[in-house]
């Protein structure tokens, strides 16, 4: 059969990572908006989780019982949803900006899933950066807001493992939210027909 002369195209996660990194580096403005969006939502989450941990630690060390108000968790939820919607919006605009580029990629051999991979890698980078930044901001906020009642050195009294778990959890959450927000835009981009994508003028 003639079939055996047809082969397969290749595109690894490593290739996508390299290209995604280039995209972020060169289109820094768009990435910065996404990173800020996720960082702000996440810093709220992290500050609440950290405050709670600080209060517990303080109590464990014999201090009076203090706690985070439960309505604040609601606010965190809302903040995270808002940041997800913001990222989805920014990523959709990024897809429109890159219509021609996506069409070109398809012309030189990219499959639908390669396009999805590219956008997901990019949002993964942004999620990681936003998560780390958000945790740092949240830590600062938590120390400032609890410090007056528990003493500012409380941050040093929290068990290291607990701190590490909180950090890991925050970054993972940011990563998950960022990638979740990018699913729809990435899917839209991957479904573009090369002809339409190439004809498109921004």
């Amino acid at each position: 059969m003639k079939r055996n002369r047809i082969g397969q195209v290749h595109f690894s996660i490593g290739d996508a990572t390299r290209l995604g990194y280039d995209q972020i580096k060169r289109r820094w403005g768009r990435a910065a908006i996404n990173i800020a969006s996720i960082a702000l939502g996440l810093s709220f989450y992290a500050s609440l989780m950290l405050s709670d941990t600080f209060y517990n630690t303080y109590e464990g060390l014999g201090g009076t019982q203090l706690s985070v108000e439960s309505y604040q968790y609601w606010l965190v939820g809302v903040a995270l949803v808002v940041s997800v919607v913001g990222i989805t919006n920014a990523m959709l605009i990024a897809v429109y900006e890159r219509y021609k580029e996506i069409g070109t990629m398809k012309c030189i051999g990219a499959l639908d899933r390669h396009i999805i991979m590219l956008f997901m890698v990019e949002s993964g980078f942004q999620g990681l950066a936003g998560g780390v930044l958000g945790f740092i901001l949240g830590l600062a906020a938590a120390v400032v807001s609890t410090g007056f009642s528990t003493g500012f050195d409380i941050v040093l009294k929290v068990p290291a493992l607990r701190m590490l778990t909180l950090f890991g959890g925050s970054v993972l959450l940011a990563l998950a939210l960022s990638m979740m927000a990018t699913m729809y835009p990435a899917w839209r981009a991957s479904k573009l027909k090369p002809v339409e994508a190439l004809r498109y003028e921004l």
Binding site: K2, R3, I6, R27, L111, D112, V195
Partner: protein
């Protein structure tokens, strides 16, 4: 294994729906293109040139009829095989260059080799070599925005050559270039056609391109009006 015709079009029809009306962009085209031939597709705008270009390149699906590339009916290919065909068999050149803006000239040319599964170092080396052959050895680390229109089109040409395709499809490749730079691109294309035996199919308005070709296919209203020897 070699086929007589590298491209074969059989009763090719492409209709678009525009509201209630059906636009007959292509209305029954039969054409055979030999290996190593240089064919210009000429016609007024709306005559079906670009539609034909898209169908040959597997970028669009015909309403009826078939496109054979190297004897394979591309309607029979699945998405993976079609991607491979676009990647390895066909090199595309566009009027508006369509380079990836965030990548350097070298990376742009090396990109198709990534999809072809060529190891990175090898791909970059090959890209550098091809860029040299189109006269851009001093500009390989520049991004598209730092290059002139003629240089960008040469990068695009180098990219089309990256995986040693059998066919180069060019859609108005000199349309955005001035007389001299356009001439340079035509000379490069013509040289590749003659020395490497690449099959070259170009949709064009450019008289200089038409003159250089082996055959000229005149299109009108979605049909072939006449075919002339160049």
């Amino acid at each position: 294994m070699s086929y007589d015709y590298v491209i074969e079009l059989r009763d090719l029809v492409r209709h678009y729906k525009m509201g209630d009306e059906t636009v007959k962009a292509l209305d029954g085209v039969d054409l055979e293109i030999n290996r190593g031939e240089y064919v210009s597709i000429v016609g007024p705008s709306g005559s079906g040139k670009t539609t034909l270009f898209n169908l040959i390149g597997g970028l669009d699906k015909p309403t009826r009829g078939s496109v054979f590339i190297d004897g394979v009916d591309i309607a029979q290919l699945d998405a993976y095989e079609l991607a491979w065909l676009r990647c390895r068999k066909i090199g595309y050149i566009f009027q508006s260059f369509n380079l990836i803006q965030v990548l350097t000239a070298l990376e742009n040319v090396a990109l198709p080799t990534v999809f072809a599964g060529v190891p990175r170092d090898e791909g970059l080396k090959k890209a550098e070599h091809i860029l040299e052959s189109v006269g851009l050895s001093k500009r390989i680390n520049h991004r598209p925005s730092e290059l002139s229109a003629g240089q960008q089109q040469r990068v695009a040409l180098a990219r089309a050559l990256a995986n040693d395709p059998a066919i180069i499809l060019a859609d108005e490749p000199t349309g955005n270039l001035d007389l001299n730079t356009g001439m340079e691109i035509i000379d490069l294309l013509h040289g590749l056609n003659k020395t490497k035996g690449l099959t070259l199919v170009a949709a064009t308005h450019d008289l200089k391109m038409i003159k250089a070709s082996d055959r000229i296919v005149w299109m009108r209203d979605g049909r072939i009006e006449k075919i002339e020897r160049g």
